[in-house]
Subunit: 320 residues, 2 copies
């Protein structure tokens, strides 16, 4: 018996199957609109509120699809990853829903709140030094010892197909969109969104917003090859990672353009969303809206879908 | 031609008519749920998100119903009120939607943000000293000079019928609720909610949460007569006013109990809503949830609807 591992770029059916697979477990998050935001942006904007998703971010979609795609033999051995961010919580909760073990390698300097959240979902946390090398070696040992399946946070077609379901729902819940905009970090959400638009809403273009302080995806598209993120520095701490091979291939083919924004623009966009829409969005989640505000001409009078990717933010350390 | 002024307690039909009247102008706000909130509360809680309503509060429902109920003759002369809070913005926007003048008497020490918001909706702002006496006298002069119709913020059956539509929608969008909880200030939302529950969901009980520092409604129910709020002091600045005669009569008849909570309990409830649900709720809006967390036994394992009344808060002055 083999895993139903997707070894090629997910097609329309793979995304539909992913959606059916995770539907009972995820929130079908609302799509919100706001007149004053539309006035300010000069466009009609539809916000897909993945900040309301379980664990507070779209990451639960991909993690659920990856976990629920495993065969019985693999399920027993559990899943593993290294992450100190939303993917760690997402994988821990997906494993809990399936009643299987999750092994999360976290740097020993990770925030206490995040460690507690992962443990709260019943995952086993394995600490390591904070270097990427230490994280990868520790993960390798965990996988060898336990036989758990490593679930990469983004460079995995099961993850990409899962993330694609956010845009699929957005498309189902709105009239024809001219453009969909997402943030881009490792590219799981962006590549999934590009595939969903291609299959379910042909004619809808896909753009991304990216922080200037972590603009590896922008530069990768410019140079036609993956340019890794080196010493990224931005308030959008969910977008520090570099593109993967699988996500880059899809993004290069299907994404129109990446718009870079600086931290001041991200903070201003974030504050507007909080004030006008009364929702909590993390800096990374505000990046696509910052891009829309910046490139006014491009989006002018258009019908624009934005995926608000997450809402996990320390309320005692707000940038405004 | 007379105004369609409701001169008795709104019946089922009056609330249904109010809903039809305002439906094209209001947001049908979503009802959100959150597993971790349910776990913490020990109940199944359905949040009616009036913080997402236009002007950021349920007040737009009542103001719209009042304005759209006026006859043509009254419409030409416009509407007037004195308020420095959400009612001022709500009335200004309702008047704008109808293309009629709105005269808003505001104390000269009102916050610049609020004054600008009201002016932004095209209303004429008339300043006065901050005493209640000055506000009432100034309003009287404005009404005499312009012939505008005074729209009271809560002690008006058109307002009460409008506010009732929030609970009506909540009832339509959920399975049978055991209890609905609202905040109480002047009592417009609470009395409207009590009527909606009576007509559209018999068997659903209605409770209210009230700040200890402005517990006039609690004391009024205890003493069987209106006990005015004197020098109220609470972070829940939308709930400082006293009950009116019309709201008190309905509340006395239809509301089960008022639960008082202190400011620490309000702030803790507010923070939980922001952190777990990723929504911006003002202190007044968090009061009913604070009441649910406090009276755990009463709500234990129940199906509870909460009206999150508003989300207008200064993000640079958060209490956490």
């Amino acid at each position: 018996m083999k895993n139903t591992l997707i070894s090629t770029i997910p097609g329309k059916t793979a995304i539909e199957e992913a959606h059916e697979r995770i539907r009972p477990y995820i929130h079908r998050t609302p799509v919100l609109t706001c007149e004053s935001i539309n006035r300010i942006a000069g466009a009609t904007v539809f916000f897909k509120c993945e900040n309301f998703q379980k664990v507070g971010a779209f990451k639960f979609r991909g993690a659920s699809n990856a976990v629920f795609s495993l065969n019985d033999e693999a399920l027993i051995r559990g899943v593993a990853t290294h992450s100190s961010g939303n993917h760690a919580q997402a994988l821990a909760l997906a494993a809990k829903k399936k009643g299987i073990p999750a092994y999360i390698v976290m740097p020993e300097n990770a925030s206490g709140v995040k460690i507690e959240a992962v443990k709260g979902y019943g995952a086993k946390v394995i600490f390591c030094k904070s270097s990427l090398d230490a994280r990868e070696k520790t993960l390798e040992k965990v996988v060898n010892d336990t036989g758990a399946t490593f679930i990469h946070p983004y460079d995995d077609y099961r993850i990409i197909a899962g993330q694609a379901t956010a845009a699929k729902e957005l498309i189902e819940d709105t009239a024809q969109l001219d453009i969909i905009v997402t943030p881009v970090g490792g590219g799981g959400l962006l590549s999934g969104t590009a595939l969903a638009a291609k299959y379910f809403s042909s004619g809808t273009m896909v753009y991304a917003g990216e922080p200037m302080g972590a603009d590896d995806a922008y530069r990768s598209l410019q140079e036609g090859k993956i340019v890794p993120s080196i010493n990224p520095d931005t308030i959008a701490d969910g977008l520090l990672t570099s593109l993967g091979e699988k996500t880059f291939e899809i993004i290069q083919r299907e994404v129109q353009e990446i718009i870079t924004v600086d931290d001041d623009e991200i903070i201003a966009a974030m504050k507007l969303l909080w004030e006008r829409m009364k929702i909590v969005v993390e800096p990374s989640g505000a990046v696509p809206f910052a891009a829309v505000l910046k490139s006014r001409k491009l989006f002018s009078a258009k019908s624009v879908g934005i995926i608000l990717s997450g809402g996990n933010v320390d309320l005692t350390k707000l940038p405004f």
